[in-house]
């Protein structure tokens, strides 16, 4: 426990955690070797579940897309908690806020693009045979 304080050879900052920094406190589950093992096991289970959902008929077929997205988000959460050591503690506020802003931009870019392009596609006039003939 006290080893952590001299991890970088610098005087440790007690207020903020660096992203990915493992700060073992009491009641910490995502720390040390057991944390990595737990994260690795969970990630493997979620990966297997993803492949099963996509490759078999275990899941009601129209729901496969939602299931895959949920499993992917869950696995990203596992990576963030067990490998990147993000917590909800006060020492992690800066890291979490930066991540939240990143997630917001990613969601805007991806969902916005899909939404707009689907509408453009739907409102596009059907090609005439002449136009189709001049396509490259």
């Amino acid at each position: 426990m006290t080893k952590i304080a001299s991890k970088t050879g610098e005087i440790k900052d007690r207020r903020d955690s660096a992203p990915g920094e493992e700060r073992i406190t009491e009641n910490e589950m995502a720390g040390g070797l057991s944390g990595y093992l737990l994260g690795f096991g969970l990630a493997i289970l979620l990966t297997i579940a993803s492949f099963l959902a996509a490759r078999t008929d275990l899941i009601y077929q129209p729901a496969v897309v939602s299931a895959l997205v949920v499993l992917a988000v869950a696995q990203m959460g596992v990576h963030l908690v067990f490998f990147l050591h993000l917590t909800t503690g006060p020492d992690n506020t800066n890291n979490i806020l930066a991540l939240a802003f990143g997630v917001l931009i990613v969601a805007l870019v991806v969902l916005g693009s899909i939404w707009i392009m689907a509408h453009l596609d739907e409102n596009m006039a059907v090609m005439t045979p002449h136009q189709a003939g001049t396509m490259p």
């Binding site: 080893k3 952590i4 304080a5 991890k7 970088t8 050879g9 610098e10 005087i11 440790k12 900052d13 007690r14 207020r15 903020d16 955690s17 660096a18 992203p19 990915g20 920094e21 493992e22 700060r23 406190t25 040390g32 070797l33 990595y36 994260g39 690795f40 990630a43 990966t47 993803s50 492949f51 959902a53 996509a54 490759r55 496969v64 897309v65 895959l68 997205v69 992917a72 696995q75 990203m76 990576h79 963030l80 490998f83 990147l84 006060p90 020492d91 800066n94 890291n95 930066a98 991540l99 802003f101 990143g102 931009i105 990613v106 870019v109 991806v110 916005g112 693009s113 899909i114 392009m117």
Partner: protein, 228 residues
């Protein structure tokens, strides 16, 4: 030192119920508070890692543009081969296992560096590099097979978007391997110096972030592409 300041923030009945040291009544709070004048800025380890975290999030935002392009163009196969024809689930499963395990061994290298064990750190970094290289080999092989059957990036909008997205991730893995080799050499020559440990920490963040992006790729590109 002010060791108690962090750990007692949330315990009831303790003296410091002001987690951000805003009150600045006692000497402890003022000294340990960051960004409040007297406490001084955060340690270099924290600022370096935070700056790299911002870079990683920017990198993920750049990837989101490639993901958006792929999502929009996934059906635009121009009467050519589709994902269902081209993707091999077995190869993707192996690739996923390799990258996930390399992320895990990268974590073991971080733990070994905390213990200041040079042999264990170098060993786990080497294993991480081998797994990453095997991942990259399978990806290059897949690209070569696809280009070989006239399904290169110029075949259709779908394939352009596919090669851009997956190739961009592959390029990151390749650069990560170069960085990994550099870190192994620097660690070997310079030892567990504070600046080397900061770089090693940033490399760990980078490698884990690549795994997170691969989760999105294997789900959205390969599994959805091969099933629909």
């Amino acid at each position: 030192m002010t060791d108690h300041a962090f750990s007692s923030d949330i315990s009831p009945g303790s003296q410091t119920l002001d987690p951000h040291g805003l009150a600045r009544t006692g000497g402890h709070a003022a000294r340990s508070a960051t960004g409040h004048g007297e406490g001084g800025p955060a340690s270099k380890f924290v600022t370096v890692a935070y700056g790299f975290w911002i870079f990683l999030l920017s990198d993920i935002i750049m990837f989101s543009a490639f993901f958006a392009a792929y999502a929009v163009l996934a059906k635009a196969a121009a009467a050519g081969p589709t994902g269902k024809d081209l993707f091999e689930p077995a190869r993707v499963a192996v690739q996923t296992g390799l990258l996930l395990t390399s992320s895990f061994t990268g974590g073991l290298a971080t733990l070994a560096a905390y213990r200041r064990s040079m042999a264990a750190t170098q060993l786990w970094l080497f294993v991480t590099g081998l797994l990453g290289a095997a991942f990259l080999f399978l990806e290059m092989q897949e690209f070569a097979v696809m280009i070989g059957v006239q399904a290169g990036p110029s075949r259709s909008a779908f394939l352009s978007a596919f090669f851009a997205l997956v190739g961009c991730h592959g390029a990151h893995v390749g650069l990560g391997l170069l960085w990994l080799g550099t870190m192994m050499a620097q660690l070997w020559v310079k030892g567990f110096r504070a600046d080397i440990l900061r770089r090693l920490h940033c490399f760990g963040l980078f490698w884990h972030a690549l795994d997170i992006i691969w989760v999105a790729i294997f789900t959205l590109v390969y599994l959805l592409g091969a099933s629909s």
